[in-house]
Amino acid sequence: MAEVKFENVTKAFGETVAVRDLNLEIHDKEFLVLVGPSGCGKTTTLRMLAGLEDTTQGRIYIDGKDVTYLPPKDRDIAMVFQSYALYPHMNVYNNMAFGLRNRLVSTSMKQLRAGVTLIMWFIVIALITAISQISGYIFGQAFYSMMMFGGIGAFFLALGLYPDFRMALTWKGMIFLSKYSQLAHEYIEIEKTIEDRVNWAAEILEIPELLNRKPRQLSGGQRQRVALGRAMVRQPKVFLMDEPLSNLDAKLRNSMRAELATLQSKLEITTVYVTHDQVEAMTLGHRIAVMNKGVIEQIGTPDEVYSKPETLFVAGFIGTPTMNFIKGKVEAGTKGLELVSLGINLHLSKEELGEKFTRLQHYEGKEVILGIRPENIKIDTQIKFAASLPGTVTFVEPIGSVTNLFFEIGIGQKITVSVEGYHKIARGDSSTLFFPYEMMHFFDPTSGKRIA
């Protein structure tokens, strides 16, 4: 139940500006994916939202509340780290319960628990002392020292080697005390609630049998689930995830991706997800924010970002194989305009381009960049509403469901074409390429912005 808002946020590490004047609104229950190349400031943005990094400028709001100067613990967020960051000395159960305990167990309860622990330790040490005193009286001084040092040593050794022993001592004390003290009773109740929540998360993530294991006894995928579970049990306002799938193998990544999407829609918690993998971005995000060099280039639904890239960078970043770009000059032709480049003369028809044409008219005599996705280019089959160009195949790359064909058009201009299935064309063959007008994107080469 929370919206997140970045307002003119800037973050600089000394000279390097990691995030520049960021403005971003994330809606309630939304799955927002921050995507961009390595080093573009995604993690920094996330860490600022988490409160692990101060902002140099600007404000951050969660649920309408200004959290810019709040410490992480008061922001009610949960984060899945790029490195998972599971607590190595705790088992899975305690890893997941840690945050809940911090939130649910009051200070006075903690104090009571610490007191009980101390008293139990005191009792054990008093017992050791008593026994050694008695043996000292009976057998002489030496036995006193031996029993004393030996006993205390053994006790501390046991504490160090078997943490369960420590827990058991405290729990015995708390259960005994809960008959008389309301606070101890409440503490035990809260521990039960925590247990329920952890079990609930473990059920969903299908890891109930791992609860007693230490992180080092888990596989990568299992660690990832635990990290997710640790965030889930808290039921925070916002989930932050920093490339949680980046270290999994391709198959596991695919299945976890699907699970993440269903999980998020089930839990309905606002999520900010960082990745540099555009497939993850396209499949997971309700909206995608594409970042580059600390600046958000475009925010939109996966469809918008794909079919209507706002900048040259977004156009090049989203989609595999990457979009083809042809730089050329817009010149007046016999019918409408023509894009003239090295050995290329592409006809831009007024009727077919419609609104795009009017915008392009302002660029007459100037340079523009034409972008077109490989999968939108057709070869050989004559289609309507398309400009056509001859090309020669330089390389064929069959990858099962699609075949990537690399063409040379004009003078040394490279064009990639994706065709479905297997294609019989071979290296050296020439063919006609059809560029559908509908699928053309035009960008201003100086500003990188979309023209039409």
Partner: protein, 520 residues
């Protein structure tokens, strides 16, 4: 479990394809049988011990002996001239040659056995057990013959060879003076040791050779060229070299300890007669109990000294750590002004030899009135130790904190901890192995420290720590205040004992990878 018998034998240093299965007996004893190096180590240790013993036997009777502090300069035979070293060198060389021949014969024999037993290159558990048993018996027989030849007439095995050696002994050609008690003790101990060593040796040889055979067979099948075999040979060579070097190290580290122990179970008369470990059991009880229980040696006793030492050691370790931990954490994690100079200052205190600071420290401590009463002297010493340990502790713990990923603390912060909570609940438990290691080393420093305690406290006081008890084991009635070496040795063993126990029991904690599994 049913398939145990069928599996192929594999050796870590040779690496055949399949997993080896080993007797459950060892596993039930808690010995990590997966790793044969354990056996090799045990074997090496015991055989070194054994070899030493043999040469000792030859040496003791003839030459005076000097090892470290202990100088036994009076030879058993007063007239050394009558027994020149020549023949004895011969004896030693003969022993060496004999041993070599025995081991060689044993190896050849086991190789033949293995070749017969491991048909088709597959040694089953049964065959391997049989092999171990048989090779063990063979070696035992060889060893028996060898023993009967050399060891004294007190040996239980009064074979004909033994009789012969008896004759030699009477004639003064061979002489290994041993009391019946000692012979018995040694017999028991070494019989056990040798049995174990032989088992280990047989096991290793068997595994090695079978693995090698398997490997050869594979080679034949695949008709791979000779290179691979050479490569295998190189691996074996590397393995042999490694353990040879280890063995050499063991000689230097283990021998003084063993020697001290042997002195500690000798009687005074025995030492005077160069007769080490005479009546060992009786002397063990006598010497150790007299060290532990004798009170009032100028106000000091082992027990009071032990308590003082524990006080100083534990005080230094705990006190030093509790001061250093926050400092180390701050240096490792936070940015603050003048960090570099402060770090340097901490290091700088470690650059002087401690002994240089002793006199200034003494003067300051005296001015502060920390040396005015005996108790104050003890606390003053603690303070001095503690001050000396802080720099080391801070530096080590800083290094340790730096190895703990910051992510973990950040995760704790997000999970609702305060900064201090994250330190307490995440960093501190993860630094526990480091803390234990550093704590042990500071404890060790205080436990063994001599010079400062000598000046601040002095010997034979109720507040003297253990190292100063060194003076207590002197025969004050003797003209040269000669120490009672057997007591001194027993005292040394007792001083070392807590440290040994400490290390052994905390080994697991020290070795544990602290943050394993926390991050991907």
């Amino acid at each position: 479990m049913a398939s145990i018998g069928e599996k192929k034998i594999e050796h870590p240093s040779l690496g055949s394809a399949e997993q080896i299965e080993l007797p459950e007996v060892l596993r039930s004893l808690g010995i990590n049988v997966e790793h044969t190096s354990f056996m090799v180590t045990v074997f090496t240790a015991i055989s070194v011990f054994w070899a030493f013993w043999k040469f000792e036997n030859l040496l003791w009777n003839r030459v005076s002996y000097r090892i470290g502090l202990w100088v036994f300069s009076r030879p058993y035979y007063e007239d050394v001239e009558k027994y020149p070293t020549g023949p004895y060198m011969q004896e030693m060389i003969t022993t060496l040659v004999l041993m070599s021949i025995l081991i060689l014969a044993y190896s050849i024999f086991s190789t033949i056995l293995i070749t017969i037993l491991s048909k088709k290159g597959t040694a089953t558990r049964k065959s391997y057990l049989a092999l171990t048993g048989i090779s063990f018996l063979v070696f035992l027989m060889a060893w028996w013959a060898e023993q009967s030849f050399w060891v004294s007439p007190n040996n239980w095995f009064r074979t004909e060879l033994g009789q012969l050696s008896n004759e030699y002994w009477k004639a003064g050609i061979i002489s290994l003076p041993m009391s019946g008690d000692k012979a018995f003790f040694l017999f028991i101990v070494f019989r056990f040791a040798e049995v174990f060593a032989l088992l280990a040796l047989s096991y290793n040889l068997a595994v090695d050779l079978v693995a090698y055979r398997n490997y050869r067979k594979e080679l034949k099948e695949k008709t791979i060229a000779r290179e691979t075999a050479v490569w295998t040979f190189q691996r074996i060579l590397r393995y042999v070299l490694f353990y040879t070097v280890m063995l050499l190290f063991l000689v230097f580290t283990l021998f003084p300890v063993i020697y001290t122990f042997l002195v500690s179970v000798s009687s005074e008369a025995g030492l005077r007669n160069q007769n080490l470990a005479d009546h060992p059991i009786k002397n063990f009880v006598l010497n150790y109990s007299s060290v532990i229980f004798t009170r009032e040696r100028g106000g000091a006793s082992f027990q009071t000294a032990f308590r003082n030492s524990i006080f100083l050691g534990v005080g230094t370790a705990i006190g030093g750590l509790s001061i250093s931990l926050p400092a180390a954490y701050a240096i490792a994690r936070f940015r603050f002004s003048n960090k570099k100079p402060i770090e340097f200052l901490i290091l700088a205190t470690q650059m002087f030899p401690g002994i240089i600071l002793l006199i200034p420290q003494f003067l300051i401590w005296r001015e502060l009135g920390l040396l005015s009463t005996e108790n104050r002297r003890l606390y003053g010493t603690l303070l001095a130790y503690f001050a000396g340990s802080v720099a080391y502790t801070v530096w080590m713990m800083k290094g340790y904190f730096e190895t703990i990923p910051r992510d973990l603390e950040e995760a704790a912060l997000i999970d609702g901890s305060s900064n201090f909570g994250a330190f307490l609940r995440i960093s501190l438990p993860l630094a526990a192995p480091g803390m234990v290691a550093v704590g042990i080393f500071t404890f060790l420093g205080a436990w063994n420290e001599f010079a400062l305690a000598q000046i601040f406290i002095g010997e034979n006081k109720p507040t003297s720590p253990l190292p100063l008890l060194f003076y207590s084991y002197q025969d004050t009635s003797a003209p040269d205040n000669k120490p009672f070496f057997q007591l001194l040795a027993a005292y040394s063993m007792l001083v070392a004992l807590p440290i040994i126990i400490l290390f052994l029991s905390l080994q697991r904690l020290l070795a544990r990878g602290a943050t394993a599994g926390g991050v991907k």
